[in-house]
Symmetry: C2
Subunit: 249 residues, 2 copies
Amino acid sequence: MPDSAPIILLHRPQLGENIGSVARVMLNFGLTKLRLIAPRDGWPNPAAEPLSAGAFEAGVSVEVFDTAEAALADLQLVLAATARPRGMEKSVTDAMGGAEQIQDSPLRCGVLFGAENHGLPSELVGLADTIMTYPVNSDFASLNLAQAVGVFCASWGAVQGAVGRWEGEKAGVETPAPKEDLIRMFEHLEEELERAGYFYPPDKTPLMKTNIRNAFIRGNWTTQEVRTFRGAIKALALGRGKARVQRED
Amino acid sequence: MPDSAPIILLHRPQLGENIGSVARVMLNFGLTKLRLIAPRDGWPNPAAEPLSAGAFEAGVSVEVFDTAEAALADLQLVLAATARPRGMEKSVTDAMGGAEQIQDSPLRCGVLFGAENHGLPSELVGLADTIMTYPVNSDFASLNLAQAVGVFCASWGAVQGAVGRWEGEKAGVETPAPKEDLIRMFEHLEEELERAGYFYPPDKTPLMKTNIRNAFIRGNWTTQEVRTFRGAIKALALGRGKARVQRED
């Protein structure tokens, strides 16, 4: 099965530093194919290396083309990144939509970005199937080239879900303790608070207990956290100097 | 109503260039509040200016704090950006999830990013309500600080929809021509093709016509595009030298 990840194309990029930054952010999100169309300072460009963080050695391959037509020749679905919709009769999407369109497509896809100083010429946008634009601040629409590429790459990563994601470490798995553990913890705490003379006046005690329980309940504590805190209650009780050493639980 | 946009906090940022890039990408997506916690080279830092593209003058305000505790003091919901989940019992989200959580919250929110060289210390992650992490390539998890902030900012922009988005220019409004226009265009084209002797053999003609129509139909042409192409058909017909000048439509 062919790799569905799109090719990133930079049209007449000027600064090697930006090419390096583009490669860096690409590889973070699993994109490895970069095409340069008539890069101003040629290629390879030593200025790209420091900002790439080693991305070229680690997997980003670069192809260089003299013309956009040659760079696009073998692609079947092309998105053109523009700072704003061009008023063309062409579908317009945002970064997530673009990533989804490519993800869902069996075609050879590319995403085309313009030069630092003036973006993509209209005739190149005209060759694209879809315009991709971001909801940027109209008073300050000034993304750096690598930032613009990065927004798409991050969306690609989000659509992919996980690119070899941190195996062995589950994200966001919370295992709240069973209520029984919490209730026994509350009883333990309340018992010690009563011994300490905390609840006063007596007619307010039920409400005070409920309020405390509510505050703890919201934390969704795990069994381990309950166990830890029960140890803390015990230590506090002992620390008051009361003879509670014999308590076991 | 208070501004719901979160505050971006950078913990011990090292390079002024990165602070400038952060401000630039922030303002692109409508974020204007930046807090620096113990920036290595102090603040203001002249190295930030060139990469900010004027973002500080155009709206990004900077506050400087000596400690993270002071910078977080007035915030009620804090997301900590980390390169990977830390195995803490804390909810974990990605950039879009984080942006949505903040968007949906009436609280004063902040998003905390660590230093270039070693991210956020665990005790600071511990102060956060939610861990935000991106689905990065586990073989190359190496986002630049401004790239990391940029991923969140773009998600914030996407969740917001449009930040003062290019009013007066509608994105992606396609107005396909009514079928009548297309049918008349097909008839016109087929009539000229017949005159040109294109359809051969006769028994294949209906299939050839259908195939051509299908190819055009997929393009979802507008009325203007139909009109333009009819002009092209006419010109081609005339160009063949046939006496069709009198045809009007």
